[in-house]
Symmetry: C2
Subunit: 197 residues, 2 copies
Amino acid sequence: MTLTDAAGRGRPRDAEIDGCVLDAALAELAAKGYAAFSLSAVADAAGTTRPAVYRRWKGKAALVVDAVARLAEVDPPQVTGRPFDDLVAELEDFRHCITEAAALPLAGIMLGDDVEPALRRAYTERVVTPRRTRLRAVLAAAVAAGDIAGDADLEVAGSFLTGSWYSFAVAGAAVPDDWAPRVARLVWQACGGAAPG
Amino acid sequence: MTLTDAAGRGRPRDAEIDGCVLDAALAELAAKGYAAFSLSAVADAAGTTRPAVYRRWKGKAALVVDAVARLAEVDPPQVTGRPFDDLVAELEDFRHCITEAAALPLAGIMLGDDVEPALRRAYTERVVTPRRTRLRAVLAAAVAAGDIAGDADLEVAGSFLTGSWYSFAVAGAAVPDDWAPRVARLVWQACGGAAPG
DNA sequence: TTTGCAATACGGAGGTGTCTCGTAACCTGA
DNA sequence: TCAGGTTACGAGACACCTCCGTATTGCAAA
């Protein structure tokens, strides 16, 4: 959603440009980080001009926040009712978001020292919280089903799930193809359960 | 070690400046990331001038690599021979590096898209590899001592150790005070062992 | 006196946010 | 059906800033 909502009668806003600019903004964010984020480069990459961008967004911060919101527009995987399979599906979804979109560099930006508060808030609300909520729900369902122990340390175990990927990436190492089931199996075992299969 | 080694007879190089510049470079790197890294800001923060920095380092890349090398100048914890305790000690050391130095933002930079190859190499060689080697050694010792299973998935389990911290940090969450023993306990259990105590 | 360091200064490049054009699209009302 | 008003567009320009990498000058230590 852009900033203006002109109810006038003139030429309607070219909606296609919005998407191009947001995609370009995500790519620029991934490549340069927030501090070096350049509106000139974004406008160029989007095939438009700087004034056109300023007409839609107030500035760098507003554009970046909108771009993050766009990144979060993904459909979560279906819940099957089998907690272990749901966990693997969530991890595969995470892998998909990381590899397809610019999600990994964005996570890297969040490790920085001077993260713009609005950006941090947008990222937490729209990216972190939804995923964490779903992962927590899967683990809670596993406890309810008796698949894992009721007194398991779910807070730390939950941090293993996505953290494993970050660890590989920081080290510059390739993530194994069967990463998702292997992570799920280990976390299951860490929580006192036995992975099916 | 800086780049020049003038053996002339004139005034000797002021070695103190080197350290100030490297510290300032690490702080700048943590705050702005690599792309927005500014030699002007570094020189200002170090209380010197840009030409003085250029006299010591060839440019941005060389300075950053030296700064990373300085970051890696830490003493690893002593090995006790009790694998579980050694693992906790390593995790506490990791925590110390993350919280005291600028190690976390630097890790975030490594998640970026266009990391300078020289920086990536320096980080991998001097930060990632030493820590990973020590962690692998601890897990291998645990296997040898029969504390954890011999067929455990040590590759993925190893990624849990540091990854857990990254996961908390990306989410903007506070890391628990007893993070190290809790991580160690869960990983122990994931590898088929029982944590002592 | 020799030598290296520090500070000032320089031109070039690139970014920012704003402003003004002329043009093209769209809606409304004659 | 067709003009007129309204609006967004691309393009160009602006004044200002920060950064880069280097050249020059003056000072201080050996």
